[in-house]
């Protein structure tokens, strides 16, 4: 097991290095730079600016400098937001995005598993159909439509919850629900189909035939097997949701890190592009790793790091 973990960690590092190198190359190949503006700057000013951010050096040199800093955990300073270090930006914004994402994930996972299970147990009945219609709606209506509707009704018309902002729990409710919508629908649908598949297995029939109470059949025999595909989905989903949503954070004016992924590219804010990409990749890779580890616990048949005999 330890050897397996060691090997995985090494692969993770190599992946991360590849991603950062590729990002570095791609980002430098898009036209424009941080100082491209409608009012063209005088040549001397441009030179001063580039010198200040080390952009006057040849690219391979910039790459070496960046990688060296990266190894020391220094992601550099934002060019757009003067005097803010990328480390600080991520350290300030990530807890916000993570809290919002965690709330949304908890809602999506619990409600999703519950709804998926109910739908499967009541297959082809009214409650199944209505839950599936809800899931399709959840998948097909993007959150930039749902979020403003929430704001208008819950915030403006009924005055139940704050329209936007961040700071107290009230303000997290609407964005969490808006953010949970799509994953909730995904989990529900996946849970339903996987549950149906397991319910048709022989061992379930055996368990029932043995006269086990239905609740025990469902919770011990069915759920445990049916949940595996959902766990697979949860890994990357968590990584995506915890690292912030550009749309939801923007609409609800939440100081998370979601916007850095988009705005850094618009601004050609090189250190932020790199920092955000590396942070997200590291998180995603780590999540996938944790999911792989989790399989082993949930399903003892999955043996990590051992070749099948």
């Amino acid at each position: 097991m330890l050897r397996y973990i060691g090997k995985r960690l090494l692969i993770m590092l190599i992946t991360l290095w590849l991603i950062s190198t590729l990002t570095f190359i791609l980002m430098n190949s898009i036209p424009g730079d941080p100082f491209t503006s409608e009012k063209k700057l005088p040549e001397s000013t441009l030179e001063n600016l580039k010198a200040q951010y080390g952009l006057d050096k040849p690219l391979p040199m910039q790459y070496v400098v960046y990688m060296n800093n990266l190894i020391h955990g220094d992601l550099g300073f934002s060019i757009k937001n003067v005097n803010r270090s990328v480390n600080d930006m991520l350290a300030d914004g990530f807890p916000v995005s993570a809290q919002l994402g965690a709330q949304a994930m908890i809602l999506a996972i619990f409600a999703g598993i519950l709804m998926g299970t109910v739908a499967a147990l009541r297959q082809n009945r009214m409650s199944d159909y209505s839950l599936m219609v809800l899931a399709v709606i959840g998948l097909s209506i993007p959150n930039f439509v749902i979020a403003p509707l929430f704001q208008k009704y819950f915030g403006l018309n009924w005055e139940l919850l704050p329209i936007a902002g961040w700071g107290n729990f009230d303000q997290t409710i609407l964005p969490s629900i808006a953010l949970a919508f799509t994953p909730l629908a995904l989990v529900t649908r996946l849970m339903r189909s996987s549950m149906l598949e397991v319910l048709g297995q022989d061992y379930i029939r055996t368990a029932r035939a043995k006269g086990l109470p239905p609740i025990r059949v469902i919770s011990f025999h069915t759920l445990r097997n049916a949940i595996i595909p959902v766990i697979t989905l949860i890994g990357p989903l968590t990584a995506a949701i915890l690292t912030g949503s550009f749309v939801v954070e923007k609409i609800f004016s939440i100081p998370g890190i979601g916007k850095y992924f988009v705005e850094s590219i618009i601004n050609r804010d090189y250190p932020v592009i790199m920092g955000a990409t590396i942070f997200f990749s590291a998180f995603l890779i780590l999540m996938n790793f944790l999911v792989d580890l989790a399989y082993g616990y949930i399903d003892p048949r999955i043996k990590l790091g051992k070749k099948e005999a």
């Binding site: 898009i30 036209p31 424009g32 100082f35 491209t36 503006s37 409608e38 063209k40 700057l41 005088p42 001397s44 000013t45 030179e47 001063n48 600016l49 010198a51 200040q52 937001n81 003067v82 005097n83 803010r84 930006m89 300030d92 409600a111 519950l114 709804m115 109910v118 147990l121 009541r122 409650s127 403003p148 704001q151 819950f154 915030g155 403006l156 009924w158 005055e159 139940l160 919850l161 704050p162 329209i163 936007a164 902002g165 961040w166 700071g167 107290n168 729990f169 009230d170 409710i173 029932r208 239905p214 469902i218 923007k250 609409i251 609800f252 004016s253 100081p255 916007k259 705005e263 050609r268």
Partner: protein, 544 residues
């Protein structure tokens, strides 16, 4: 089995009810502060990139900077300079020397504001090591440009603190608008001791030291700023607001909802969803103000077919500007009659510049004349078919609508097919500055309040002359206007220059901008100024 199913259904029902109760219980939690002179404003979209005047480069930072720092002068409602930290000033006869006399004022840490702070701040902007993006705003100083390029020493720059309260400025050329320019955020002072001790002083509220009407009380990055009245401000008696809350709302829709719910008192175009503007303007819920800004298309004179003047003019004459502002933009904009926008004062008499000259271009299309000019132009070039023509704009819905309207007008009036090409903002700008276009969109806001900011950009030497247009007579007129301090003479020369520009037509001005103001009835005395800034210094709130 049946029982468990029922239990599941009950569980779902219970869950749903519980979450509803929970939602309802959490509602209505927020309340407004009790202090009645607290203003909530909604014009800041996101984190101001920098509150260090040397590094600031955008209007968002500018809105905050103008309230936490005060320069030598302030701009009044009509765009004229009035005393700020300088209580008075004298200009030498040749217009090249200005002496400012400073009043007694203090920094928020208790230090006195001295002439040396200004000298230090300005030289810091020009210092090549600072990497100040707007250094060019101080190129008016003698040796300013040279110092920035590393060709002169700091001591040679034309700004000198004669004593604590006297600042002497030496200019390269007479620059009558330089006094107003000292209100621009790049020229605001910094506390020398504070900056020398901590280069990152402007990154956080607790290290920030200002001298303005308000202090930077709270700065939660990416979330909000709170400004508090500065009791030590020299003119504190006039400041009535105790606090200004500045939450950042990226989404116009969100800001507008907040405004409607009463959480915001004041906003500009950033608090207005684009689709709602026409309706709200018509209903009078939004006030429109003239904004100094010119929307236009540039021709590239180094590309066929726009190297031909008649063809350029044909394209310009085929445009119905009135239709564009009435049917497309619908925000109270005005069809341009020239390049210098409305609202700009004529230096000769302070009247509006656009009313001091004739209609360089009509607001409706002149199809016959356009068609005629096109044929003549094509004959001159010896072609019977126009090459393929592409119009460039940056990706944005409003720009797209305008481009499509133009495309239709050219088709209808000239029977010419024009291709539209949109690109991402910085890609678009790269193309423009590399001359890789035939016709390209350009919106232009002034650097300072004088027609010169629109006119010197089309001289041969200018970096902003993306049309690659060269005209000796024009260059000469601008040169002459720049070397005199006589406002009447300057005005006349600049009018002549604009006439040539509009005759040669390297650009087609389309319309003049408007600013939109959303304001609750209890907000009084906010001043929207010609430099597109908002002044909350003397604003106050009445009982609702």
């Amino acid at each position: 089995m049946m029982r468990s199913k029922r239990r599941m259904t009950q569980l779902v029902a219970a869950f749903t009810v519980l979450s509803m109760v929970f939602l309802a219980a959490c509602g209505g939690g927020s309340s407004q502060a009790s202090d009645d002179q607290v203003l909530d404003i909604g014009m800041i979209v996101s984190e101001p990139p920098s509150l260090d005047p040397a590094k600031a480069q955008d209007s968002q930072s500018g809105h905050i900077l103008r309230h936490v720092l005060e320069g030598l002068v302030n701009i009044d409602k009509d765009g004229n300079p009035k005393p700020g930290i300088a209580k008075e000033w004298e200009v030498s006869d040749d217009g090249k020397e200005i002496t400012f006399h400073l009043r007694d004022a203090t920094w928020s840490n208790g230090d006195p504001v001295t002439a040396e702070d200004f000298e230090y701040a300005w030289k810091r902007v020009l210092n090549p090591d600072t990497g100040a993006i707007y250094a060019y705003q101080l190129f008016y100083l003698k040796n300013g440009e040279e110092y920035n390029a590393g060709e002169a020493e700091a001591d040679e720059v034309g700004v000198d603190a004669v004593d604590d309260k006297t600042l002497k400025v030496e200019l390269k050329q007479p620059t009558p608008y330089f006094i107003s320019l000292t209100a621009f955020y790049t020229l605001l002072p910094v506390n020398k001791d504070v900056v020398e001790e901590n280069g990152k002083w402007a990154a956080n509220a607790d290290t920030y030291v200002g001298n303005g009407a308000f202090t930077l009380d709270v700065w939660e990055h990416d979330s909000k700023i709170e400004l508090k009245k500065n009791e030590d401000y020299w003119n504190a008696d006039k400041v009535k607001l105790s606090k200004i809350n500045v939450p950042f709302n990226q989404e116009e829709q969100t800001a507008y909802q907040l405004f409607k719910s009463g959480k915001l008192d004041y906003g500009d175009k950033n608090s207005l969803p684009v689709d709602l503007i026409p309706e709200l303007v018509e209903k009078g819920e939004v006030e429109t103000k003239k904004k100094l800004g010119s929307y236009s298309y540039i021709f590239n004179l180094e590309e066929e077919p726009f190297d031909n003047k008649k063809i350029r003019k044909a394209f310009a004459l085929a445009i119905d500007r009135k239709k564009i502002v009435e049917d497309v933009t619908q925000g109270g904009e005005a069809p341009s009659n020239g390049w210098v926008p409305w609202g700009m004062p004529d230096p000769a008499n302070g009247e509006e510049w656009v009313k001091q000259h004739g209609q360089y271009q009509k607001s409706s299309a002149q199809p016959e004349k356009a068609k005629e000019l096109l044929e003549e132009g094509m004959e001159e070039e010896g072609i019977d078919k126009l090459p393929e023509i592409t119009l460039d704009y940056n990706t944005d819905d409003s720009h797209k609508k305008i481009a499509e309207a133009l495309q239709q007008m050219w088709k209808k009036h000239l029977d010419v097919d024009v291709k539209l090409q949109n690109s991402e903002w910085k890609v678009f700008l790269e193309k423009q500055s590399n001359g890789d276009f035939q016709m390209s969109r350009q919106g232009w806001l002034p650097d300072y309040i004088d027609p010169m900011t629109y006119l010197d950009m089309y001289t041969t030497e200018s970096d902003q002359n993306k049309a690659n247009w060269h005209n000796e007579e024009y260059d000469e007129l601008i040169e002459k206007a720049k070397s005199t301090n006589d406002q009447k003479k300057r005005s006349k020369l600049m009018h002549e220059a604009e006439e040539i520009l509009m005759e040669e037509m390297p650009i087609i001005p389309i319309y003049f901008y408007t600013e939109f103001i959303l304001q609750k009835d209890h907000v009084k005395n906010v001043i929207y100024k010609k430099d597109a800034s908002f002044d909350f210094r003397e604003a106050y709130l009445t009982e609702e």
